[in-house]
């Protein structure tokens, strides 16, 4: 087990308004989320001395304009003018979960006391994907000429392999979509709050990239979320009950850029990002009381459940049936609605929900008697990170 387990905790969490596309600068969303997280902790902004984010812009082909389409650490520094700032980082290889892990490391090293991590997601007005145009350079030279036009299609190919190799049917995924949408109705901040979804809606929906229909894809939105992390000792003196980080892991395998469709890449990514989380925390999948697994596209949950070890390969679509992923089921899953419910905010909202469930602060959607709360914070293929939060330090 990890000697640093339960020595860092998530304290406050914050959210901006989520809109379908950009109406105000993204920086304003990020600021609202960061202020919210600091206030939730009962801290003053001047207490914050660490900053971390992953500022990538997933809408391809749009310019990176700081404060408008991304919100970098520099942008946040310029806005906040923190008098006691001592440490900051911007991560690249493992999405927002990597920023959270780096902040935890900085707290453990004693180089900052209260770190804020945010994820701000831009959805431009007009076309989301601004594809390569007349020429395809770099990794896209082997994919774009064949009409591979975005991450959804890239993920869809691995999903057909999974379905046909395991003799499974995509109709079973309706359970995931409608259960998560039901959870969404207990999360007023989510984009699809107030909009239920039926099995018939799912089965009758238009195809986007077979086997993905519309409801297998998260909707691009504009918004931001944020958390405050601090050491366990300090967290206990703050307003919210802490969610202790019992262990974490990150994807430790990478295949060549531009290689798409490889199901084994998802499985290897997920196994490598979870094995050290289990080892560090001392827990195993059967100990988990509630799980948030990244669902930018529905099949990510399938790869996650299998590669993290919650069920055997080929069984995930059966695993989620019969109420197992409901709030009172064997493994309550994506209890905040997931990205399919909140809109595309990447994995920080999964981390927030994992922390809220561990600290008993999930309100109407709180799962009973949670101690061990698992998070798979992004798609395991390229950017996977995993976490375990606990209510009781051990």
């Amino acid at each position: 087990m990890w000697e640093h387990r339960c020595k860092v905790a998530v304290s406050g969490v914050g959210f901006s308004k989520v809109t379908r596309s950009a109406e105000i600068p993204l920086a304003a969303h990020a600021l609202e989320a960061v202020k919210g997280a600091v206030a939730d902790s009962g801290l003053a902004m001047s207490d914050i001395d660490g900053l971390a984010t992953y500022p990538e812009l997933p809408a391809t082909g749009h310019a990176m304009v700081d404060g408008i389409t991304i919100v970098s650490v520099n942008c946040m520094m310029a806005m906040l003018k923190l008098p006691n700032l001592a440490w900051h980082v911007q991560v690249e290889t493992v999405n927002i979960g990597g920023a959270v892990q780096q902040a935890a490391n900085a707290l453990l090293a004693g180089v900052c006391k209260y770190a804020v991590v945010w994820r701000a997601m831009h959805n431009p007005k007009g076309t989301y994907q601004n594809l390569p145009g007349t020429h395809a350079a770099g990794a896209t030279q082997f994919t774009a000429p064949y009409g591979f036009g975005g991450p959804g299609q890239g993920m869809a190919v691995a999903y057909t392999r999974w379905l046909e190799r395991h003799n499974q049917s995509r109709e079973k995924m309706a359970t995931l979509a409608i259960t998560q949408r039901r959870h969404t109705q207990m999360n007023p901040r989510a984009y699809f709050y107030g909009q239920p979804l039926t099995r018939e809606d799912y089965l009758g929906s238009r195809m986007v990239a077979y086997p993905f229909c519309l409801y297998d894809c998260d909707i691009p939105v504009q918004g931001a979320v944020a958390i405050v992390l601090t050491t366990a000792d300090r967290a206990r003196d703050l307003k919210p009950r802490p969610a202790y980080i019992a262990g974490y892991g990150q994807r430790l395998a990478f295949e060549v850029a531009g290689r798409i469709g490889s199901l084994s890449s998802y499985m290897e990514g997920g196994r490598s990002s979870s094995s050290l989380t289990w080892e560090r925390s001392g827990f195993s999948p059967k100990d988990v009381d509630v799980a948030q697994i990244y669902d930018g596209f529905s099949a990510s949950v399938i790869y996650g459940l299998e590669s993290y070890g919650f069920c055997k390969e080929g069984e995930a679509l059966d695993f989620i049936q019969d109420g197992r992923m409901e709030l009172d089921g064997e493994l309550p899953l994506n209890t905040f609605g997931g990205s399919l419910g909140t809109g595309r905010i990447h994995g920080l909202w999964h981390i927030i929900e994992g922390a809220l469930q561990a600290s008993g602060r999930a309100g109407e959607r709180q799962v009973k008697d949670v101690n061990v709360s698992f998070v798979g914070a992004s798609a395991p293929i390229v950017q996977g990170t995993t976490f375990i939060f606990v209510r009781e330090p051990y």
Binding site: A136, Q153, M207, P211, G258
Partner: protein, 147 residues
């Protein structure tokens, strides 16, 4: 219902831009030869091309012709054009092919000369070539004929 053929006639494909690593691949394709990067030390084929052999860290890599026969590893049927210039072909099959000669090297393509509904994991395919201009010819796939 009649089997649907995708209409590629109105599609303008993005033109691949060869770089230091990929130029031999495109040079061979222009000659209607499918050639993949192969490690001269461990004989491993890899695609997309990379700076080193991802199996043995070898740096002596050369492009060698492969037969162009293989099986569909995975596929998707596109119903939504991420790239609007593909809208006229919708729905169409984009496939990932694993070649007999190069296990583990995955090539993207479209399934041509067949209804898109013929795309299935494991189905046998063979390479064909689609010239885009004088410089660039695209390797593509159709269902395998004969043995």
């Amino acid at each position: 219902m009649l089997a649907r053929m995708s209409d590629w006639s109105k599609v303008t494909r993005p033109i691949p831009v060869p770089n230091e690593l990929s130029r031999p691949f495109w040079d061979a394709a222009r000659q209607k030869v499918l050639a993949l990067q192969r490690c001269q030390a461990c004989k491993h084929f890899q695609h997309p091309p990379y700076a080193t052999c991802v199996r043995c860290m070898g740096i002596d890599l050369k492009f060698e012709p492969v037969s162009g026969k293989g099986a569909i590893y995975a596929y998707t049927i596109m119903y939504h054009a991420g790239d609007k210039r593909f809208a006229a072909a919708i729905p169409y099959a984009s496939i990932i092919v694993e070649l007999d000669d190069a296990p583990g090297a995955l090539l993207a393509g479209n399934l041509l000369e067949a209804p898109y509904t013929e795309a299935k994991v494991g189905r046998r395919v063979e390479v064909i070539f689609e010239p885009l201009n004088d410089d660039i010819t695209l390797p593509q796939f159709r269902l395998a004929r004969g043995a």
